[in-house]
Subunit: 327 residues, 2 copies
Amino acid sequence: MDPLKWISREYHEINGSTFDVLETVPSPLEFARIAQISRPVLIRGFQPPAAKVWTNSYLIERLGSSAISVAVTPNGCADAVTRFDGKFYFAEPHVEQMTMASFLSNLSPDKEVAKGRTETYYLQSQNGNLYSSRFFDGLDDPSEFKALRDDVPSEVFWCSEALGRPPDAVNLWMGDSGSVSSVHSDPYENMYTVIRGAKHFTLLPPAEGWCLKERMYPHAMYTRSLGSQTLELRPSSSDIPKVRWSSITEPHLPGALAPDAHPIYITVKMGDTLYLPAGWWHHVRQSGITIALNWWYDMEMRGMNWVILSFLRTIQDVPDGNELDEV
Amino acid sequence: MDPLKWISREYHEINGSTFDVLETVPSPLEFARIAQISRPVLIRGFQPPAAKVWTNSYLIERLGSSAISVAVTPNGCADAVTRFDGKFYFAEPHVEQMTMASFLSNLSPDKEVAKGRTETYYLQSQNGNLYSSRFFDGLDDPSEFKALRDDVPSEVFWCSEALGRPPDAVNLWMGDSGSVSSVHSDPYENMYTVIRGAKHFTLLPPAEGWCLKERMYPHAMYTRSLGSQTLELRPSSSDIPKVRWSSITEPHLPGALAPDAHPIYITVKMGDTLYLPAGWWHHVRQSGITIALNWWYDMEMRGMNWVILSFLRTIQDVPDGNELDEV
């Protein structure tokens, strides 16, 4: 018996591949029951002040000349498996400092324009850029978007109450349809609220992670060349450990996944919040200029949750991504 | 890698083998967090009216001449692996109808007396003898102890609220130190309240179930012989499927379990309530005349809980209990 196939088949038999939609925000107790099941839920009616006031001019005015960190790639694929010189790498983006005004001038609501650019900008610093763990520990917090904090609560009330703890990080995400997040999972409970535009999630439960065929890839990073100023992918020193990542770059396309996988497709529109449970795999595309907020909460490590996530990860065979005929 | 050993080792590394004690009953939200972790908790301060009024004379008066079902065995081991004629069987007790007065006259607070009897009586009908699932479905409920319902709430408030559902069954248990429950697990969340005496639980998490060395045993049942009226173990027809049961009959004794097992010992005294999570293995001894109540709630089947309990059970090799040198 193959434990991965057995667990994923049983999981799908019991759970199917649907998701619940709540028309209003849950009570803490309702959310505690949701978190116990650990399946995605689309929640309507959660409206932080940002949803009302974040026009471009407001954001530009608030942030003024302060520098914000933006991921820059030639193709919109930050943190993704990328082919270079006949070899596959895990490519990290170049990170550039710029003003909000300059960043916004590089986004477009038009898909053709967004995808046609030679450089794609994505605000995805995801280090607690609104509130970091230092904030929740009562320490000085160097987050870049402090000026926007009045518009974003540091906690999602019903979630903090249900889990019995504050978030570990709160982040602002901004981009356009030129950017895509490659499929990955995080060991965090995630509340993901879309403020503008729409995000298209392709989700797989932790039990189906093996269908994503993770491989080991050498690390590389985009760098701006001193001469031409163009972005070049620069393989990192061999001292940098290889990165374990899914070899399936477009899991949302028909036929990309084996029939054992049962992806769930959820579009999170302006005003919607996705509860994305810890360990769930997600690939994310976006429509139009998209602004989102997310609250990451530490997952419950006690009990079986973490043990099983580790088990599902550990028993997989993860070959080298460059020692196969195809990835 | 042996999945069972890997999972149980990781589980113990993360969780240890301690348990929490609450000095007061939890709020629904607090209990929801406890249930998510699915580890045993000893809860003080839950006092159903039964705790104050259930003297022997009260119980005898309330139940009068009505018949109650009592398990009778020669050794206090109902539902246990038992040797007979050189072969091992899973033995079910003889069930006899009697009055509460007659039943109580067969119990003793004295350990020597209780263990020395030729027949041991244990009220363990566990079919929702106070409130059955029919009660919670609004149907007529033939439970034997209806006359005691005023003293026992049909629900544990904080538990029903946390889980979002009423119990599936509520049971009364009465016995003395002559009776022991062999180690087993139930697919139910269990709130277990001791009203009189003390219960000594030996617990193992679901991840360590493999240490209990389950085997397949032919079924047998104690029957009162028509002539001598003594109890005899009668092997059932071979049509009755074999029963999967732990071959370790005294897991609480030193050395009975492999070092991979980390038993948790909890004594639940009068006034204490044990939260025994679904799937946890338990062996139960008792001191003195013991009265207990338990509320069984259906476990949450959605998500990974049930999948993992099934997996831990399915990947075990379960040989025949009579085709080995030793059990």
